[in-house]
Symmetry: D2
Subunit: 380 residues, 4 copies
């Protein structure tokens, strides 16, 4: 039986607090890891909120000050699910306290913050991971396997979009509890850090490093009432962000993220074209991978819609039977199961803080390029 | 150069008169046949109608009595595109006059009529063909090739639907010029002869003979005003027709046709499931063939959407370049090109009157089964 | 806080034991019901099996004799997830012991068994429900709402298929632990009770009672080695089952289930065509509902692919945010959440044993029709 | 009856010569224009080629020197379907001879050539049009109507890709008869002028002028054997071309064209996102328009797949009946029918040379931007 326990302290009770909590619960049951996750404590600023959350999810205790949670001896892993502006301080404090650290993406509000956070976990030598969950959608993981096997040959093109439409209404306020993603001080940026960061993380995982970018951003609604001040204030985030990219392997890419694409709720799409084969995937039908294999016989060659629900598909032997799809939340469960496996076997955890820092270097470059109207090389 | 000419006499200026005329014109250009089709004469009862039609399509002359057209020495091929109730008389007269005969489907209003028509062309020894045009949609022709190559292995299932929705309105009249398909005396039956006949023709072509059927029909709107009498009269056609089938090869089938499937204009779908592979096609995306090949590697096995626009796809070397789709009308052009090739090379013409008679035996059996509520064996 | 507890005793540790257990766990967290589900005991014949299962899923105790479990005072709800041949005995015993009873579908192996089971729960006055889980796929629940609102008008057609391909290999054995679905004594029937039953339950829920049927079955592979006896024995289940139906409301239907449709893993499809609108859904893209609304403006009328992930879609306010799909397992969670709500509010539980009995009457009629080659009226 | 004749002189017998010839023939029949098109003469350099072409398509006479054709009094319209490097000279000569001029796209090899060509037709006052045929795909024309009616509201985003894969093989030669598109001297540029030009023409037609661009090009295969010289020579065209755009109306766009997108034959896709609604279309399913209308009721809002085959869809009243799709070639027929209507009614012809010049200004800017790595403003 699983004797080892991993005590988790979650900070943040919002949308991501929920996805992580579900992952902690489900990974234990479905993946039967060596370490059994224990929902030891949860922290949020408001006592009512955190107590309700703990009752709902089964956390053993609560805190209202994250520093208290980090100080506790009975916490092994600090999981950060707060708005972006507190990632930096919490992660560094947790690392210095010797805790394992998992952090919701983006790592920091800028590569500068992320670099310090990365230095902190590396210097402390603590296990660390960032919740770029889409890598663990089984279809995406399978894409990675196929690419790594060399099936695509030389890569020519990479394309990724992340299209949403929830901020089109001009009377939507900005800032505050639910809408901090529209407040640059809190979020760091708009769609670049929120949505493009996902696209970039997956792209570099699948297709290697990005060498240079030319970006462009737009803020369609220039002013919105701020929830905290009550005043109509300029909107300072990027509503939309597009960029061209050159990858280190010679392939070229185009990326776009927006919250103004009417009709698309969370349409993250990616496509990669190689010499021999191509792959496509999107989040609105996340249980399918599209593949075109030029080696197929000519007359009957076509894009295959692969229903990723079989036992030989990544992670799927843990779930149901062929034909029965899983959903969005499972990507977090898979990531946490891999985290548990990683710490048990002392294998690399990925995406690490260092990898997430690389993503932030690209998002910083995109924003800088958009501002200066110049191509930007990605440094380190 | 093409020295031989084939003089065509078309009877009927409706929808099918138009599709046939286009085929005559286009086959000559795109397939460069040994016999050059000549639009020699067209016939319809009303002088104005037939003269306008001839002017539009380039027919050299007109007739208003089909018997006159058949008598003419300068006509090689009589093409019948009239409502169903005149197919019988015209076809037999044309055969007896020694003309080649092409006939719009269904051949007769019943197997009895069709048997006499078949006997007439066979006894006269004249070239004959029935316009079951869907066999010559390139995707369907490719399906035939794949099945004949044995790629599917033993067949288990066949499914075909033909779904329309244009007669739902209760104030739609029946009978007369445009609506003769709703008049049983003229049409012979409702959707069974009109739509199911297509499904059955393709099914037997792809999957062999049908041994027995259990059918069911329904007339949803019981009375409609008749266009000719002006009176509200009972509707005697079948609005919908469904049947179960056993094929001679041991596979089983389900078929359905209706004009009450809201949202579907002309959705002819077919699917065939074999031991090793399956195929699907539908008329609303007629330029695609769906194929599932179990021999594909397990992880990346999926339904392939094959875009039938390449030079190695049936008929497609005559049209454009890969990726550029053709349409509905081309199926008639292909059929007529094959007719021209067939008569030049003395090869079998298919579907012949004899094949179309077999289809009518099945439609008769479906109607008889629906009426008697018994399974019916298909005789000959 | 949730003070009331509902103690669950699960019988059966197979595939359905897993889906139910997940539902018990997740319903408590995501739906915050008045009754908190407690995984009190689980029962299976083999001690090792049941102990491992209990450890994995968090059951407090185990039994190896289901009668013992039923006798226990600390069990409120008996949940039956065993093969079909023990549903009858367990359900009746549980009802007689005054327990609430949930039973995996089909209820009995025949309407005769199901009638006795229904009488038992009704006579005992205990809460009862059958796991026809597909009603609680949010897209299917939404279809029900739309139909009940009258949006479709008069119904003309209903179509449902359940297509699988996992028994095509002739060397697949029958019977025993994992393959009892191929053993008629255990399962009651083949695909009729296993797959068609789902189609029939949903159909009658959405479109009302079925009046009569004409069915046809086929067993493609006639002999298989039996896992328990080791001998090659005749296969007595139906591998495929198709039927025509007349509904009480005058609409007509076609249904098919098979395990020989190469390329389809668990493709449950349904479509309903009404005077004003039509709906389509399938299990391979379970998070989408297709709708055609004839009231839309003519030029831009088309099938809408509705991504069922919004807060105003059934059950979806409990999960994530728009665009993020859930999966198969959630249908069980929703059903159990509704069960908990139902018993707390004394509202009807559906599908009840009585409703499942009606489904079994139809499956019995389909099988009888196939055997006698006659139409069968559905009695009560 | 149609008494007026329009005598056509076609120059060029390649792929585009075929599409134009088909359009001349079909427009006369299906659109019954006031002017009847007459295939008076066709010209190509090789006598055999041009005679075969004339015989196949029904041209009355042939020329092997385009200057001769232009000099002829019996030619009203000169249609240019030659490789790009002769558009300039022919168009100007034809205009100076007072002929109507239609020219295959792109107009010139550069905006400089196009400006002179435009000046020539405007100075001569002759009817002129450029074959940007995709505007007349009925789904695209319908998109234009919907946008012009204001249905989309303020536009935020425009996206277009044109993806092909036919030049991936490294042993494909460049230049010469069939492969002049790979020869920069003849073509002017690679995919920018060939494919992106289509995307830009449609984009500006639907969404107004483009103000500035940031582009990037790539040549994946650096050397190929040249068909004319037989030598391995550097490839100087752009194999792929991507750019970001700012439209005059404030919306932003991304565009991509490539011949290295494995799996895509001719996948021209476009999408436009507005405040109230969005539209999508692609060339591989050219008979469908996707529309999302935010005004639809929330629960059943979704992307509509509109099957553009009804009588109230643009141009479709001239073809068949609902549900029956047309193909690629029809876009040329529609354009020529509109040309005939335009000259009969003295209405503007579009796209005119002046409009095509604007497109070339954008393609020039894309190439210049790619070379200089700077944003480029579109001048006039």
């Amino acid at each position: 039986m699983n004797q080892k326990k991993l005590n988790i302290g979650l900070i943040g009770c919002g949308f991501m607090g929920r996805t992580h909590s579900n992952a902690f619960r489900q990974a234990g049951v479905f993946f039967q890891p060596e370490f059994t996750p224990v929902l030891k404590a949860v922290c949020a600023r408001t006592a009512d909120t955190v107590e309700n959350f703990a009752a709902q999810w089964g956390y053993e205790s609560t805190e209202t000050d994250w520093r208290k949670l980090i100080e506790r001896d009975d916490i092994d892993l600090v999981d950060i699910a707060t708005p972006n502006d507190s990632h930096y301080e919490i992660a560094i404090a947790a690392a210095e306290a010797g805790k394992m650290v998992m952090c919701e993406k983006p790592l920091g509000r800028s590569a500068k913050e992320s670099a310090a956070m990365t230095a902190a976990v590396e210097s402390a030598g603590v296990a660390n991971m960032v919740w770029y969950n889409y890598r663990r959608i089984p279809a995406v993981t399978l894409a990675k396997q196929i690419i790594d096997e060399g099936k695509l040959g030389k890569i020519f093109h990479y394309r990724a979009n992340f299209l949403q439409d929830w901020t089109i209404a001009t009377d939507l306020p900005q800032g505050g509890e639910a809408l901090w993603r529209l407040d640059k001080d809190v979020a760091g940026s708009g769609v670049t850090g929120d949505l493009l960061a996902h696209c970039i993380d997956t792209a570099m995982w699948l297709n290697g490093g990005i060498a240079e970018v030319s970006g462009m951003t737009e803020t369609f609604v220039k002013e919105r009432q701020h929830q905290l001040t009550g005043k109509v204030q300029p909107v300072t985030i990027d509503d939309a962000s597009i960029f061209l990219a050159r990858f280190a392997n010679g392939s070229i890419g185009q990326f776009e993220a927006t919250r103004y694409a009417r009709g698309h709720k969370a349409l993250y799409t990616l496509e990669i074209n190689g010499e021999h084969a191509s792959l496509k995937w999107d989040l609105h039908d996340l249980h399918r991978l599209q593949m075109f294999d030029h080696a197929d016989e000519g007359r009957t060659r076509g894009w295959r819609s692969v229903h990723i629900t079989d036992g030989d598909h990544p992670y799927m032997d843990r779930w149901w039977v062929p034909g029965l799809q899983i959903g969005y939340e499972h990507s977090f469960t898979h990531q946490f199961a891999d985290f548990l496996t990683g710490i048990a076997s002392d294998q690399p955890l990925s995406p690490s803080f260092a990898e997430a820092l690389n993503t932030d270097r690209v998002t910083d470059a995109v924003l800088a390029s958009a501002e200066t109207r110049q191509w930007k090389t990605i440094g380190n």
